[in-house]
């Protein structure tokens, strides 16, 4: 479904991604780990089309389409969803109105009619339960004054509402207490199916106890330096990243 080939990108003249290769198939759950500043959020931003990043080399294909040619909103409409590490606040725009607009824009792109008010509300109720999202947050301004945990839940709630093909979760676990982490993870697990794929960016093995990944990638200095299965996450938890860095330097000095 998603193929990333030799992806290089820079921001403000600084090289951040230095040749990412990644293949994600339908139904797979990929975890991306790596030390701070290694480029995880940058990869997510480039895939979502943030315009301060410049792709200098490489290709990204999504369901046979050139993702890098598309405007950010079209990527979203095609089914790429990014749960932001730092969701923004938008005063004056109610959560409800925002979601209705988003959902109907995506539907319109697919040639579907706008959802009727009743159906929309029904869907909203159903998906709120999935992540235990408090309904009084619906009429408030988007993320304004939400707690860190509420913002993260809102991201997963939106994910449930918009039903994308590929969901990228950027450190959704950070800022969540253990109960919230369990609820959000359960929500994500319920959304998993054979058609959907996930990329979960995290620092902690903890999340991966709830959301079991098919693959774990280590991103370091703009490159994926190791790929394994969930055992790799455990190993990282125990040993940190230094042994990997050393391995890498050995390889590079050969």
């Amino acid at each position: 479904m998603l193929t990333i080939k030799n992806l290089h990108a820079e921001v403000e003249g600084k090289k951040i991604l230095k040749g990412i290769n990644l293949e994600i198939n339908k139904g797979e759950m990929h975890a991306i780990m790596g030390p701070n500043g290694s480029g995880k959020s940058s990869l997510a931003s480039v895939l979502a089309g943030r315009d301060n990043y410049t792709v200098t080399e490489g290709e990204v294909w999504f369901n046979g389409k050139n993702l890098l040619d598309m405007a950010p909103e079209d990527r979203a409409r095609e089914g790429v969803f990014l749960a932001f590490q730092y969701p923004v606040e938008i005063p004056g725009v109610s959560n409800l109105n925002f979601l209705k607009t988003a959902l109907n824009e995506i539907r319109a792109y697919k040639g579907l009619p706008a959802l009727e008010a009743r159906e929309f509300l029904k869907l909203t109720k159903e998906k709120q339960q999935l992540v235990d999202f408090h309904s009084n947050l619906m009429n408030r301004s988007l993320n304004e004054g939400f707690s860190g945990g509420e913002k993260k839940r809102n991201e997963i709630f939106q994910l449930a509402m918009l039903d994308p093909q590929l969901a990228i979760l950027d450190e959704t676990d950070s800022g969540l207490d253990i109960d919230a982490l369990r609820i959000v993870s359960n929500g994500v697990n319920k959304l998993r199916d054979a058609e959907k794929s996930f990329v979960v960016i995290t620092h902690y093995q903890r999340l991966l106890e709830y959301i079991i990944p098919d693959f774990v990638h280590v991103l370091y200095n703009g490159r994926i330096i190791k790929t394994g299965t969930k055992e790799l996450a455990l190993e990282l938890e125990e040993r940190g990243y230094d042994w990997l860095k050393e391995e890498l330097h050995l390889k590079e000095s050969v």
Binding site: D51, F84, V93, T101, A102, E105
Partner: protein
């Protein structure tokens, strides 16, 4: 991928939708401002002697005045001698019905979305259409007449209802008020007149649509609205002008008088040509608008949506003379490109228990500059006066400006005056967040702006709220940065 700069350019080059001009035979006076032209206008309009005298007093006052210097922008040079002070579509004889209006004119208004044909007209809205200096048609006159409502051009009111005009003309905005008001008094062309008799709730929205067409003319209308005891009227003005490279001056005067327990709601959707992206051309909108709540428990409410003009400079004000009278000011002012707005309100609390509410929402994009300037004055007699002011600024991009100048003068200890102000910015990260949810940048800006101005647009009559919302989206199209 489109970057922000391209989008900004995009909007700058966006055509002003109403920029066409109409080819029509006009009577135009030669340029120049002097007593002769004033006498010419007065004679052309067959005015009584007292009105000519009043005009001449206005001109005398004007000659003694200088342009003010307190505004937060550089005053452009105005060559008032280069303007023509009278332009009117040539008509062969007195018109008796709409059928006799020049079809070219009807077509112009139709194109502007203001059908003057009563069958096609918006139900529930009576329209007075002013083309350059002259009122060309008023719809639903008959129906209004049945209820005793007078809604006609100013010129007609002078002929048909001279006593009312004489009694109230200049009673709220005297001919000595300020230089533009003095100029208007001297050379005013036409405008609208409204009288709502005692106890009548005007059954439809009254609306005036102003259109500047001719080149090198100024537009100087006067509007006079009198709501007699226990009456109610909602009045709306809209305006557009062709795109022209030179600036055009619009110096109108609006006077509102609310008697015992009367209520006047005055709404403006101002969309004069704003000039091009470099600030060339556009209307100078220097307007004096003031209402007086003369009667006990009377109410005047101004709502304005200002999207056009090169410079908007006006302060719709309310004098709260009657005890327990109420004044409101709701405003959305948008500037982009090199537009300037210096606008706000003045509320004078004179009577006891008077209340006022000011909600101002400024939006600045491009290299626009937006100032809110407001005065809340409470006199010694105004026991328990209340004011609430909310003054918000929204910035789009990094090159625009926004300023707030609130003045408070209280001479009564029991007065309660509250002022709140916020400044926010539409950030790229907000736009990107919305993009990432499938909403394109135009819609994203519209979504944010609509949320921001909701409180003001809710004050407009339904049809106009929808229009205003569209106008805002069009105005801000592509202004993401």
């Amino acid at each position: 991928m489109i970057n922000s700069n391209e989008i900004i350019d995009d909007i700058a080059n966006k055509e002003y939708e109403f920029g066409f001009s109409t080819d029509i035979e006009m009577d135009i006076a030669p340029p120049g401002l002097n007593e002769d032209i004033i006498r010419f206008i007065s004679a052309k309009k067959n005015e009584p002697e007292w009105l000519l005298e009043w005009r001449l007093k206005g001109f005398a006052a004007f000659k003694k005045m200088e342009f003010p210097k307190w505004q937060h922008f550089e005053m452009p040079e105005l060559d008032l001698q280069a303007l023509s002070y009278y332009a009117a579509p040539r008509k062969k004889k007195q018109l008796n019905s709409l059928d006799e209006v020049d079809p070219e004119l009807l077509a112009t208004f139709e194109k502007l979305g203001i059908p003057l044909n009563e069958q096609k007209a918006l139900t529930g809205v009576a329209v007075d259409a002013v083309f350059d200096s002259v009122s060309v048609a008023t719809t639903f006159k008959g129906k209004l007449k049945e209820m005793g409502v007078i809604f006609c051009s100013f010129g007609e009111a002078v002929q048909e209802h001279p006593d009312l005009v004489k009694k109230y003309l200049g009673s709220v905005v005297p001919h000595t008020d300020n230089i533009f008001a003095a100029l208007n008094a001297a050379v005013f062309s036409d405008g609208s007149f409204v009288y709502i008799p005692k106890g009548v709730r005007c059954p439809m929205e009254l609306s005036t649509y102003f259109r500047i067409n001719a080149q090198n003319t100024g537009q100087f209308e006067r509007t006079l609205i009198i709501a007699d005891d226990n009456s109610y009227v909602s009045y709306l003005e809209g305006c557009t002008a062709p795109m022209r490279d030179e600036n055009q001056l619009h110096a109108a005067v609006v006077e509102l008088i609310a008697l015992e327990q009367a209520e006047i709601k005055y709404s403006t959707v101002q969309n004069w040509y704003p000039g091009d992206k470099d600030g060339k051309g556009g209307i100078y909108n220097f307007v004096t608008k003031r209402g007086i709540c003369k009667g006990t428990a009377s109410k005047i409410s101004w709502t304005q949506v200002e999207t056009g003009s090169a410079i908007t400079w006006k302060y719709p004000s309310v004098i709260l003379q009657g005890d327990h009278s109420e004044g409101e000011f709701y405003s959305v002012a948008v500037v982009r490109n090199k537009q300037i707005a210096d606008t706000g309100t003045k509320i004078h609390h004179i009577g006891k228990g008077t209340k006022s509410r000011i909600i101002s929402k400024g939006i600045s994009a491009g290299r626009g500059d937006n100032s809110y300037r407001g005065l809340v004055a409470v006199g010694p007699r105004a026991d328990n006066a209340r004011n609430f002011t909310q003054c918000d600024s929204l910035l789009i991009g990094n090159q625009c400006g926004s300023h707030t100048f609130p003045y408070i003068e209280s001479r009564n200890k029991t007065a309660m005056i509250e002022h709140e102000a916020t400044t926010s910015k539409i950030g790229e990260d907000q736009i990107f967040y919305l993009n990432q949810r499938g909403i394109d940048s135009e819609k994203a800006v519209a979504l944010i702006v609509n949320g921001y101005v909701k409180e003001v647009l809710n004050q407009l009559p339904m049809e106009f709220a929808v229009e205003a919302q569209k106008l805002l989206s069009i105005t801000l199209e592509g202004s993401v940065g």
